[in-house]
Symmetry: C2
Subunit: 470 residues, 2 copies
């Protein structure tokens, strides 16, 4: 399968035009059909070509989402939920057209329950908006994909980011969801207790389902107290293997690193250029430690000892909050900075995640492929989780280069799966990784298909993503 081979699904032309008519009448200016807006609503931040929805509707409440879904269900017209459109795997494309539901006007923070360390909010709140809102209360929400994504979208793709090594992913930090089902009914997946054994885990069923089982219209998320002490810095290593081995040993020692991010030499250079950092251009770990004063001191001593064993430098501390924010902003902008490094290229964001013992081996074999295939592919990685992104920067009109990138990605995903890992640690399957889902999950995909069919028998919810039902 070539990278840009998208599946086309038959369009239900009659249904679509009927539904657009009904919705226009009901929602007036809340529904838009102009070309540029439709184009904005299926951009994918990636090499995957756009497939436009027929209309975009902007609901303001769960009840409006219900109404839209009921109308679409009656006419068997696809529904594609949309947040910030920062999916990397074509998650917001509309391969058979239909109605894009833009949830960004549903952006209220409904209640912060500081005493229970949770927050209930609408899906259009972004992670940065949430943390801005929480800051005065000494609380924060740790999950941080590169983009300033919407929290509904982050739940849908089971997102993670730089803090996952300490705080887990969206899987671990969603307390409950309110979901509009494909028949328009509303389901609340759980209460606010910290744990429950009451029946099937509906929360985890919807987290990571990429809008293919229903539309999230409300979320309760877990919060954390801002630690007494936060220290951040960088550390250089002779090689990617040394940085990986340091991370592996730190994790195995139970060191509660809050962030441990790898950049290879190329990526370090790219980030210096794009974000005005002045890091030594070598293999780099960006680090953050959370705890009490004493706890952070203990952790950093332990880390320095381990890094020393692998030829790592002493940590160069980032001393001000501004500089720390600048450093993590640079990390979050890694994808944009790569694209700027090779103007005109597309970045193909791979997302391998392997058991940590395999990390050094998996990454170094992949870098050999990159060299052998003569690609430009900088590396960033949430290495504490065994997760890394080697992203070939490809001129998509150069068929040979595209083919070489495909070869590299194929090798990487096959290697990752063979090592007991996954082709996607945090980006999701979308359209881009469907073939690898089958290779990775085998008969498990049959179960996924059965689940999809039981909940969305007419396949109206974000069709063409994750699993295929006929």
């Amino acid at each position: 399968m070539a990278l840009t081979d998208l599946q086309s699904i038959d369009r239900n032309e009659d249904g679509i035009s009927t539904v657009v008519g009904i919705l226009k009448q009901r929602f007036g200016e809340q529904l838009q059909t102009n070309q540029s807006l439709r184009e904005q609503h299926c951009h994918t931040m990636t090499y995957i070509p756009s497939q436009l929805p027929d209309a975009v509707v902007f609901p303001q409440a769960t009840e409006e989402v219900q109404e839209i879904v009921r109308i679409c269900a009656e006419h068997k017209v696809p529904v594609i939920p949309f947040g910030t459109g920062t999916s990397l795997e074509g998650g917001v494309n509309a391969p058979s057209g239909g109605i894009c539901i833009d949830l960004m006007r549903m952006n209220a923070i409904i209640s912060v329950n500081a005493e229970d360390l949770d927050v209930t909010l609408q899906p259009g709140v972004t992670r940065e908006d949430l943390n801005m809102h929480l800051r005065d209360q000494g609380l924060f929400f740790p999950i941080d994909p590169g983009a300033n994504a919407s929290l509904g979208g982050m739940a849908s793709t089971r997102a993670s980011g730089t803090n996952a090594v300490r705080y887990g992913t969206m899987r671990d930090n969603v307390v409950n969801l309110t979901v509009v089902m494909p028949d328009g009914n509303v389901v609340k997946t759980a209460g606010r207790a910290r744990k429950s054994s009451a029946g099937y885990d509906l929360t985890r069923l919807f987290v990571g389902s990429e809008g293919t089982l229903g539309i999230i219209t409300e979320l309760t998320l877990r919060l954390y107290g801002i630690p007494d002490k936060i220290s951040a810095g960088v550390c250089q290593f002779p090689s990617v293997e040394d940085a990986c081995n340091t991370t592996i040993l730190a994790m195995q020692s139970g060191l509660p690193l809050a962030r441990v991010e790898l950049m290879d030499t190329l990526m370090t250079k790219i980030m210096n250029e794009y974000s005005g950092l002045s890091n030594i251009e070598s293999t780099t770990l960006m680090l953050e430690f959370h705890g009490t004063d004493k706890g952070v001191e203990e952790q950093t001593e332990m880390f320095n000892d381990i890094a020393g064993e692998f030829g790592g430098s002493e940590i160069q501390w980032v001393s001000t909050v501004e500089d720390r924010n600048k450093m993590w902003k640079a990390r979050h902008n890694a994808y944009h900075s790569m694209l700027a490094y090779r103007p005109g290229s597309q970045g193909i964001a791979t997302d391998a995640c392997v058991p940590i013992s395999k990390l050094a081996e998996c990454l170094s074999q992949t870098l050999k492929d990159v060299e052998e295939l003569d690609l430009i592919a900088p590396v960033v990685g949430h290495v504490g989780d065994g997760n890394f992104h080697v992203s070939p920067l490809v001129m998509m009109d150069d068929a040979d280069e595209v083919a070489r990138a495909e070869d590299m990605i194929e090798r990487l995903n096959m290697r990752t799966i063979a090592m007991g890992g996954t082709c996607t640690g945090e980006h999701g399957i979308g359209q881009g990784k469907r073939r690898f889902l089958k290779l990775e999950h085998g008969t498990g995909v049959d179960v996924m298909v059965a689940l999809k069919r039981s909940i969305d028998p007419d396949n109206i919810m974000n069709p063409g993503k994750v699993v295929q039902i006929d």
Copy 2:
């Protein structure tokens, strides 16, 4: 609904006798039909009356489980998976007869991956066996329900226990499962990576499904390094509210308590008597702190400060490992010690779990009910999770007492659900809590039914538990 009203489901007599015949021929002595063995295989440790399976089979490998399930599926005969039989909600009963699959001969620890902090094992390994096996490697598995349960059973009920406040529940600590599906196919739910966004979360679908969607024949679990420093002790409080409020504030302060267990005065007395402890007979918290030397010191200082605000005593430390083990053994034996306190009674194990801010209120209102209804009902609680067990000790031949206990339980579960909590933090739904599942999850139960129907359309997998399909 009375406590002991069990649903009866029509028995498929022809199918059952055919299947028993085929299995007898195929499995010889691995299949047993004698009355006493069948009785042992549906005891429920509780007030719920026994419903016997027609035969018990002891497979030794996934392939044998597949064979058994295929034969049962062909004849639409129920299959009931069995571990240690320590379910508290009738999880191993056979309301329409069928074949009990005893998995305790599948008790191999297949591989300990120390470098990835995980272990792969068969479902019949118990939590104590696992920890015995791991000890020499400096590793442990934290999840500890009262019973020395099998790990397959613990995954099936989404079990937790005293360490969940720090280490999470089975939800958080199962890496992947191998499951024999109702059609006899085998599904592996995930690899060994720490995180994944590859499709629907099949692992979490099966964790907590109580054998109603398939039979777990292999598990990979997360492990932890034994902390450098472990300190444990007890602390007394003037009232249950004070102990709860201390816990609430400690949790809100982000204190990483490893264990925080509440006993009311009655329970403290019962445990002294049964387990030979000599704790002051007052409201008690049993505590454990994990960390480095300095870290534990910091934590205990913080805890003492908070406890002091609520009239708590200084912590009385348990100084030897033997005494520490004795203390936690006493906690794990709470259920047996209660029954011994009132000979002839049944303990009705409630399992309320509320958002932590509601804990003191929920528990004290419940204790008022206990007093008003003139019940004997000691209290233990994993209070850091907002989870507590108020267990009326009931003479089941005293209809009036049974009715008063039912009243108390009804009030407790309704209160819990109204507070955004759950009727079961860790025991599961089984037969005993099905009515409350509906009250708690509303339309969510329809989704659970759809899932059950899609995966097990003939309803052969542990029928009559969790959800009902017709």
